[in-house]
């Protein structure tokens, strides 16, 4: 593999370029007009303009991406996360064009991308799934019937929904009827489909995930777990490896369940099984991400394994570079995502970054998508950087992250930097009370405008 096109932008494009440089692989960046000044464009060996800022006219223009791939002579495409990374049609097109897709097969992407099919497949693989309906319910009566079988409290989720719109909880029959009516009406208006799924609501939940890597020869290894419970708007803010919550016994069980499930579906490349865990450490499969994830650095920091390098290696048809028995975890790592947003309303805050000072410190890793004088536009994800700290234990990693973030300076736009610092310094975080309702429970009540 001599030259790779990176079908992505921002920090993940920079991250992939870094490993490619270390391996002596040439890189091709593609960028929109809005990203002309972004660091990843100049970091790549070659860069090609895609088009206008809107994703449909640039990063999601499949024909244009392949036109550039062929023009540049790229032998492979790394999709990063988002955009085409979990798009089966894109992976299939790669095959047709004779270009290696750095990810799993289109068939596996399609299977795991379908929530109902993924749930059934995982059930068949012996993976516990959140108790719930396998098919959508069409009426309040059906919702109540399902809820009473599952047991309250339940979550009603719009079948056609996403991004947090169309999710309501219900603690009893009356609330279930009410929730179905309001949520279904809203889903009809927004998505043209009012049908709902009913799922058991897991209270005081933890979001736990397991990183796996699999090769063409049927070898699958896990790189332990991450906990990513601290979220706002159902999107992660702070992630750590490993989870401060899981016992070693449960850790072993959850990691092995991911390995077995990956084997059962014939998975190849890096992937992540996402779970929700309750207070008794019962864990349930949520979904599988068939790509590299934003939070992969915390796993890299505790295992010393370069996940991008492994992706490239197995995409070339080679065996995984490391055996499971050689995967050790040392210390602890925590990652904070820096978002261009109002830390109180969580609304986006595009604009020009007038000052940016990124500290270089021992035990601190900065993955930055922006530079000073760069204008953050409303067209893409609000994440502009990730700051990752490691330590011999959780407390050391937390202290290193606080020290690093306090030296970080970013002006001109609103960011969540202070929010992250407030969370890291809180007694609740230090005590490991990192449930998925952390922001609502501990941060928002103390947050001052």
């Amino acid at each position: 593999m001599r030259k790779i096109l990176i079908a992505n932008r921002g920090e993940i494009a920079s991250r992939i370029i870094r490993t490619c440089k270390e391996l002596g692989i040439l890189t091709v960046a593609i960028y929109s007009e809005a990203d002309k000044e972004a660091p990843f464009v100049s970091q790549a060996d070659e860069a090609y303009l895609l088009g206008a800022p809107r994703v449909e006219e640039s990063y999601m223009d499949m024909d244009k991406v392949f036109e550039i791939a062929n023009q540049s002579g790229a032998e492979a495409i790394h999709p990063g996360y988002g955009f085409f990374s979990e798009n089966a049609a894109f992976a299939k097109r790669c095959k047709e064009e004779g270009i290696t897709f750095i990810g799993p097969s289109p068939e596996v992407i399609a299977k795991m991308g379908n929530k109902i099919e993924a749930r059934l497949l995982m059930k068949q693989a012996g993976m516990p799934v959140v108790p719930g309906t396998d098919q959508a319910v069409e009426s309040a009566e059906e919702a109540v019937e399902a809820a009473e079988k599952i047991g309250y409290p339940v979550m009603l989720k719009a079948a056609a929904g996403g991004g947090g719109i169309g999710m309501v909880s219900a603690a009893n029959r009356e609330e279930c009827v009410k929730a179905f009516a309001s949520n279904s009406e809203r889903a009809k208006r927004f998505f043209g489909d009012g049908s709902m799924f009913v799922e058991k609501k897991i209270e005081n939940a933890r979001h736990i995930e397991v990183q796996i890597i699999a090769d063409d020869n049927g070898n699958v290894i896990h790189l332990f777990d991450r906990e990513c419970s601290i979220q706002r708007r159902n999107q992660k803010v702070i992630e750590e490896a490993v989870s401060p919550f899981l016992s070693e016994q449960t850790r072993n069980e959850i990691c092995m369940s991911a390995v077995n499930a990956a084997k059962s579906i014939g998975y190849v490349n890096a992937g992540t099984f996402e779970f929700i865990a309750d207070e008794q450490e019962n864990f349930y499969f949520l979904e599988m991400n068939t790509r590299i994830q934003v939070e992969h650095p915390v796993t890299e920091e505790v295992t010393g394994i370069d996940i991008v390098q492994e992706q490239l290696n197995v995409a070339r048809g080679k065996a995984i570079l490391i055996d499971q028995s050689e995967v050790k975890r040392i210390g602890h790592a925590i990652e904070a995502r820096i978002y261009a947003e109002d830390p109180h309303t969580f609304f986006p805050s595009p604009g020009k970054i007038t000052t940016l000072i990124v500290p270089e410190m021992e035990n601190l890793r900065n993955e930055v998508a922006v530079v000073e004088d760069y204008t953050v536009t409303p067209f893409y994800d609000p994440m502009i950087a990730k700051v990752i700290a490691r330590g011999e234990n959780r407390e050391e990693a937390c202290d290193a992250l606080i020290a690093g973030l306090e030296k970080w300076q970013i002006e001109g736009i609103k960011t969540n930097k202070q929010m992250v610092l407030d969370i890291l310094k809180s007694a609740e975080f230090k005590d490991g009370n990192t449930t998925t309702d952390f922001v609502a429970k501990y941060y928002l009540p103390n947050s001052k405008k």
């Binding site: 991004g163 947003e341 969580f346 595009p350 067209f379």
Partner: protein, 71 residues
């Protein structure tokens, strides 16, 4: 006359009311999209939609008037 304004900069993803329609307080009228976030904009008061000042797909800044309502 009541003006419904954008609470953030972004694109108008969907307009869910029509001119002449009566809307209730708290009803969603427009969905804005910015940085992959969809924000439903709702009306604070009951009224009749007088004018829709934006189009689906258009870009708005925070504070821009999206819709005017007649009491």
């Amino acid at each position: 006359m009541h003006e419904i304004k954008a609470s953030m900069a972004g694109n108008v993803w969907k307009i869910v009311v029509e001119a002449g329609e009566t809307v209730e307080a708290g009803q969603d009228v427009v969905i804005l999209e910015s940085m992959k976030m969809e924000i439903p904009i709702s009306t604070e008061s009951k009224g009749i939609v007088k004018e829709i000042k934006v189009e689906e797909g258009s870009f708005v800044n925070e504070g821009d008037v999206l819709i005017t309502l007649e009491a």
